[in-house]
């Protein structure tokens, strides 16, 4: 891979004025209902969150011939961009996440009719999927907020939707990048910040937010794609009189209980159920003011997307005290359990447990740790929910806990491959000392401090969904990582050291790799365009596209 040479070439190409919107057009909603082949129409590629592609033009026998097609380096300059936003002019000088080690593409770009659409904090782009040349660039003048990441866009016809660090949802016209409207979701002064990619289901734009520095409520909301008006809101903690309220001491603690849904949900069109993974409770690590399980924080919740009404829930971390949100991808697939065909939902949770649920009713079928170092639980209860060891709650003198708050895994998308029956996930066996710092009966914010003390290694793991057993593991330097498996017998991921890697999904053996300028920052995606299969991955401030040599 002569990446440097290509970088130079792409630099020269920027001298040419981007033009020609050929091939652009609205999203056909039926694309959202099937595994993506000639499109990648939503964050996860399809509603299931499997990160599995039926494409096999690129496969284990020819992957050695995979080569660079183009690089698009994200343009951060407001010059020539379409400008929007409510913040001061001075905000335009800010970068997209400089305090987090520089701009990083954590989106999985949408690819619709030959155009890639993605966002970073305060920036949105359309890029020609054939050539990697920018079509338009939109810059948002921010009012502030945490610029840690943006997971991209949702699309409805010609309309695009993305969220901003200062908690607006912005709708753009995909053809021009011109803003249609923007709507305030939450108040940045309350430490909310918004990273999710909106999910479009029929005429619902599903939006979540993040922010757990202060003790504020979390919710998911649905908006009208034409007008941006709110259709429904679902709060992640119960109000008085609702079921689940008994898992909080009082109305006040529930209303300040956090549970931010900061990941895009997944969706089953047949059951018409939206699967929402929720965040950790607040105060985050000092649990003394919120005795109880603290529903529906750190849970997987099934909602009706038309009404926002809850149908069932499963709590991954009852009364979490380690910032282990359950916002990892709820992956939907059909499989066999004890010889019976079942509609399943599987999640490798930040707390280190692999869960398999019946996604029709939320009933737990399997709960099993997927890292060896886990030391905070005392088995699982009758509902399959882990029983936490209260001695591992943060203490004044410190307790040694694995995993650290970074988790056994995190938000980057895992992959389920129906050909192998294996669930692939990037994992870490970190340890940290947790110190309770706020002993007040009503602590604020995090209420505890954490000091990392090393770990027992990071691995890419393959889990048999029927048993929960780790079938193979391969050492990496990266912990959580975005993954994509394909019918071509390939598992695309990274090694945590800047290499984009194609692994053998049966063994974890690397089959191909390319050293990029940064480690891949979310899962790769793949699609067919003009009969050629592309594999695209974001790494740092650049998108890389690979094709087979012809």
């Amino acid at each position: 891979m002569k990446i440097k040479k290509y970088l130079l070439t792409s630099g020269f190409a920027l001298l040419f004025v981007p033009f020609a919107l050929f091939g652009q057009g609205p999203l056909d909603p039926s694309l959202l209902l099937k595994p993506a082949t000639d499109a990648w129409p939503t964050y996860h590629g399809d509603y299931s969150g499997r990160h599995y592609s039926p494409l096999k033009q690129i496969n284990a026998s020819n992957v050695k011939g995979l080569t660079l097609a183009w690089i698009y380096r994200a343009n951060l300059s407001p010059t020539g961009a379409i400008i929007g936003g409510e913040g001061p002019e001075s905000a335009l000088a800010g970068g997209a996440g400089n305090e987090f080690g520089g701009p990083s593409i954590k989106a999985m770009p949408l690819m619709v009719n030959g155009v890639l659409y993605f966002a970073m904090p305060d920036h949105a782009y359309a890029v020609d999927a054939r050539t990697g040349r920018q079509i338009w660039h939109y810059v948002w003048k921010t009012r502030g907020g945490i610029h840690i990441g943006n997971r991209g866009m949702g699309m409805y016809g010609n309309w695009l939707f993305f969220e901003t660090p200062d908690n607006y949802v912005v709708s753009l016209d995909a053809r021009t990048g011109k803003e249609r409207w923007h709507k305030l979701i939450a108040d940045v002064k309350q430490e909310y910040f918004s990273t999710p990619a909106p999910l479009v289901i029929r005429n619902h734009v599903i939006i979540g937010m993040g922010g757990d520095s202060l003790d504020v409520p979390g919710w998911l909301e649905s908006r009208d794609p034409e007008t941006g008006e709110i259709q429904w809101k679902w709060y992640t903690t119960p109000r008085k009189g609702e079921p689940g309220f008994e898992t909080w001491p009082d109305e006040y603690s529930a209303a300040h209980g956090g549970g931010m849904p900061w990941q895009p949900p997944t969706y089953d069109p047949e059951l018409n159920l939206l699967y929402v993974p929720t965040g950790n409770p607040n105060p985050v690590m000092a649990g003394q003011s919120r005795n109880g399980d603290n529903l529906w924080t750190a849970s997987i919740v099934a909602l009706n997307p038309d009404t926002g009404k809850m149908v069932w829930y499963f709590q991954c971390s009852p009364h979490d005290t380690h910032d282990w949100d359950a916002t990892q991808v709820p992956v939907l697939f059909d499989g066999q359990v004890n010889g019976q065909p079942r509609k399943l939902l599987a999640q490798a949770c930040r707390n280190g447990f692999f869960f398999v649920l019946d996604r029709t009713n939320g009933k737990n079928l399997l709960s099993r740790p997927f890292i060896e170092s886990l030391n905070w639980h005392k088995g699982v209860d009758a509902k399959g929910q882990p029983i936490r060891d209260p001695e591992k709650d943060p203490q004044i003198a410190g307790v040694l806990v694995s995993p650290s708050s970074d988790g056994a895994t995190n938000w980057p998308a895992p992959s389920f491959n129906p050909d192998t029956g294996l669930f692939y996930v990037g994992t870490s066996q970190s340890y940290a000392m947790f110190y309770l710092t706020d002993t007040d009966p009503h602590p604020q914010g995090y209420g505890a401090a954490e000091r990392g003390v090393g770990g027992l290694g990071s691995y890419l793991r393959a889990i048999d969904y029927q048993t929960g057993k780790v079938v193979w593991k391969h050492s990496t330097l990266g912990g959580a990582q975005g993954l994509l498996s394909t019918a071509g017998g390939l598992l695309f991921g990274s090694d945590g050291a800047g290499n984009f890697v194609a692994y053998d999904p049966m063994s974890g053996k690397p089959l191909w790799h390319a050293g990029l300028t940064a480690n891949p920052s979310n899962a790769p995606e793949t699609y067919l365009l003009d009969g050629r299969q592309y594999v695209v991955v974001g790494a740092g401030d650049s998108l890389y596209a690979f094709v087979l040599q012809q």
């Binding site: 200062d166 002064k189 001695e391 970190s430 000392m433 050492s475 975005g482």
Partner: protein, 288 residues
């Protein structure tokens, strides 16, 4: 591949695949607008004199109902969580509110000067920012352990004395480090500081007790040094003379071996009882 297992403990490339949080120790943000005080970034800066004045007025005038630290009291709500206070800009909204009060809920109006209102607002905003800034939380007194039990562990079950001596390498260790740093270093002397996963600040120490990697070529020629990077595809080390050497890898060729002088600490991670950690800390702090 066994070598790589060990290497993951000390090569720190964690930032990208990691959690929704930043590395620690970054400078405060100066971006327009508000928010962003969380994530350990320090948030906005405050005029400490105004904070102090505001606190004084607050305790005298408001503390009876709202608690002297503003987190709520006998009859008044927690103002750190007040949406009105969080939304206030420099005392403007707060001032308007105080002129009227909330008589229906028993909150009287307050006749305060503009300066006093601004000072109270500064105090409250500082309190909110301090709650949000988890990087600034102070760890309390962690010395709860039994020094005698710690000494017994050191010389007995912990087998610490097989490598360490309280009159040798650990002489005066209790004076060298504060208890929190010392306790962290008991568990992992390298701390975090870019040595693998785990949120929170590392021990802030220079790199010591680093592993050694030895690369042996098929010819028999070998190179040793501190590992800089070990992946499936390449190995980079810095040798004793400071020269950086890199090698490409193809399966088991060349041979790559890693030795970690802190392997005993790594092996202990899964074995520690928290009480042993606390006792050992209590013992080692006595070594002044």
């Amino acid at each position: 591949m066994k070598a790589i297992v060990i290497v993951t403990l000390f090569v720190g490339l964690a930032a990208l695949g990691r959690a929704q949080q930043p590395p620690a120790g970054n400078p405060p943000r100066t971006q327009g607008g508000r928010g962003g005080g969380g994530f350990g970034f320090g948030g906005p800066q405050f005029d400490q004199a105004a904070v102090d004045r505001g606190q004084q007025i607050f305790v005298a005038q408001c503390g009876f109902c709202h608690g002297s630290n503003a987190t709520g009291g006998q009859s008044g709500p927690d103002l750190i969580r007040s949406v009105m206070v969080m939304g206030d800009e420099g005392g403007q909204q707060l001032g308007e509110f105080l002129k009227v009060g909330r008589p229906d809920k028993g909150m009287p109006k307050f006749d305060l000067s503009q300066q006093q209102i601004t000072d109270i607002a500064t105090f409250l905003h500082q309190r909110i920012a301090a709650a949000a800034n988890r990087g600034g939380y102070k760890i309390l007194n962690i010395l709860v352990g039994d020094a005698k039990a710690g000494e017994a562990f050191f010389n007995g079950a912990g087998k610490c004395n097989t490598c360490h001596s309280v009159t040798g390498d650990l002489k005066g260790i209790g004076a060298k480090y504060d208890p929190v740093t010392l306790q962290g270093r008991i568990v992992m002397p390298r701390g975090r500081g870019g040595f693998g996963p785990g949120r929170g600040r590392g021990m802030g120490e220079p790199q010591r007790s680093l592993p050694t990697v030895t690369v042996t070529l098929p010819s028999g020629e070998s190179f040793s040094g501190v590992p800089v990077r070990i992946t499936d595809f390449d190995v980079t080390l810095r040798d004793a003379s400071g020269v950086l050497r890199s090698f490409t890898r193809d399966g088991d060729t060349p041979k790559v071996e890693v030795k970690d002088p802190l392997q005993a600490h790594v092996d202990m991670l899964a074995k520690w009882k928290d009480s042993d950690i606390h006792n050992l800390t209590a013992y080692l702090v006595t070594l002044k």
